[in-house]
């Protein structure tokens, strides 16, 4: 895919004239890095959607031919995917897919177990649970008096034993008190809230960010320190509009992707 690019040609011509100059060498390296990123982005999607049968990527030579890229560019692209923890290169075997990102829906308000039910059973390790005096920003958003008790829950959520997310949850105590005896290990808070209130949930305001995991959060999530985390803040309301569930969720970046559909007109 590289040869047709005008910019590429221009840089190559220039490099040809300057031969061994440092500037030309740098330009080539920069160009190859751009091309490797381009290729890695195409391969990332294919491996995340399971396009590679048996979890193995084609040989480097095949990829080079298919993508009209140099072997060096292919190697650099595979290095990028390896650094993200998505593939491993096994001597004598080739490049294999080692990570799976689970697709979390962005179109409908759903709990983790609901959205991932096709992929396995979600279990929750409750690290902390109990009443806390609501700090001002929590009280404000849950519409309870500042300092009133709310239920605080901290859960490490796993799919098939693998840590997916660390969730910090605040619920008004009149509803939260009934969560204390509920099966939080195996059930989404969303489902429990609907069962306890006899109401469906209505809507949620969400904010998504990418952050680097601090050392402690990384350790809890069994991820490398500094690894990218998809951070979700979500304030969920009952169908009648009352806010009932404020959550701060750190998803492991290498385990979760979020997919949805946007429309141009509302």
């Amino acid at each position: 895919m590289v040869q047709n690019m005008p910019a590429t040609d221009r840089i190559r011509d220039h490099a040809g004239q300057g031969a061994t100059t440092v500037a030309a060498h740098r330009a080539r390296r920069r160009l190859r890095a751009d091309q490797a990123r381009q290729l890695a982005d195409l391969l990332r999607r294919q491996l995340l959607t399971g396009d590679f049968p048996a979890g193995a990527l084609p040989h480097e030579a095949t990829l080079a031919a298919d993508y009209r890229a140099s072997r060096n560019t292919v190697r650099e692209a595979l290095d990028l995917l390896r650094a993200e923890g998505l593939v491993e290169r096994l001597p004598g075997v080739g490049t294999i897919v080692v990570a799976q990102k689970y697709p979390h829906g962005l179109d409908r308000l759903m709990g983790l177990a609901e959205t991932l039910h096709e992929h396995g059973h979600v279990t929750n390790e409750v690290r902390t649970m109990g009443p806390v005096a609501a700090p001002a920003p929590v009280a404000d958003r849950l519409r309870v008096p500042p300092g009133a008790d709310v239920l605080y829950i901290e859960r490490l959520r796993r799919l098939g034993g693998v840590p997916l997310s660390l969730d910090l949850t605040y619920v008004p105590l009149d509803i939260g008190v009934d969560l204390l005896g509920a099966d939080l290990e195996n059930t989404d808070v969303f489902r429990l809230l609907e069962a306890l209130t006899g109401q469906c949930l209505g809507h949620a305001e969400i904010t998504l960010e990418a952050v680097n995991a601090d050392a402690h959060s990384a350790a809890v999530l069994e991820a490398p320190r500094g690894s990218a985390v998809l951070m979700l803040e979500r304030l969920t309301h009952l169908a009648d509009g009352r806010p009932v569930d404020l959550e701060f969720i750190r998803f492991r970046g290498d385990r979760i992707s979020m997919s949805g559909r946007l429309h141009r007109s509302l």
Copy 2:
């Protein structure tokens, strides 16, 4: 907010009995790290939504009182926000907000300049532009024959001079050819596509991920190597359903957040 937690009390009592044991020390440190994360999450939201007048956070002692946390916990929470590049601590001044994350809408399909128009002017540095033979996954998604030329564009997008995102874009060539002479430096591709086709855009399928920036992407985005990037893959269709724009976008995690609203029922 800490004293009321049952888990906290339990660990504190235990630490009191065991006095100086290593286990008790570790438990205390772990507990403080949990509490610091909890506090940092509450402060993060406030500073991102501009809740702190004049861009300065309250004094540590005030935060400690407001959040019923120890001074050590407050300091550790501020350290977490500093590591994320959101605040700085100035001797004799206190803790000030140094980063702004711009809110990108998740409810409607919009270009970057459109969604951020209140915050300033978006400029685009076109790093590469020209026809390339469509690799199979691109051809497949844009519904052009494999190997047919498509227009490839690579842009570094800035707001007020600050790099926000690196965008890799593929457009079918029959439409893309008209983009070659367009003002890509100052205009969203979305707007240009609508002007060129005389059609509104319809919908897009999006996937969001958090990834660590590779060295080269980080350098282009002027961000530290390994910093968290919000990665958006987006396939946009015209109102008549034809796919016209496949993009791979790396947003700097410390500059962009995505916000929207989800509903329980569709």
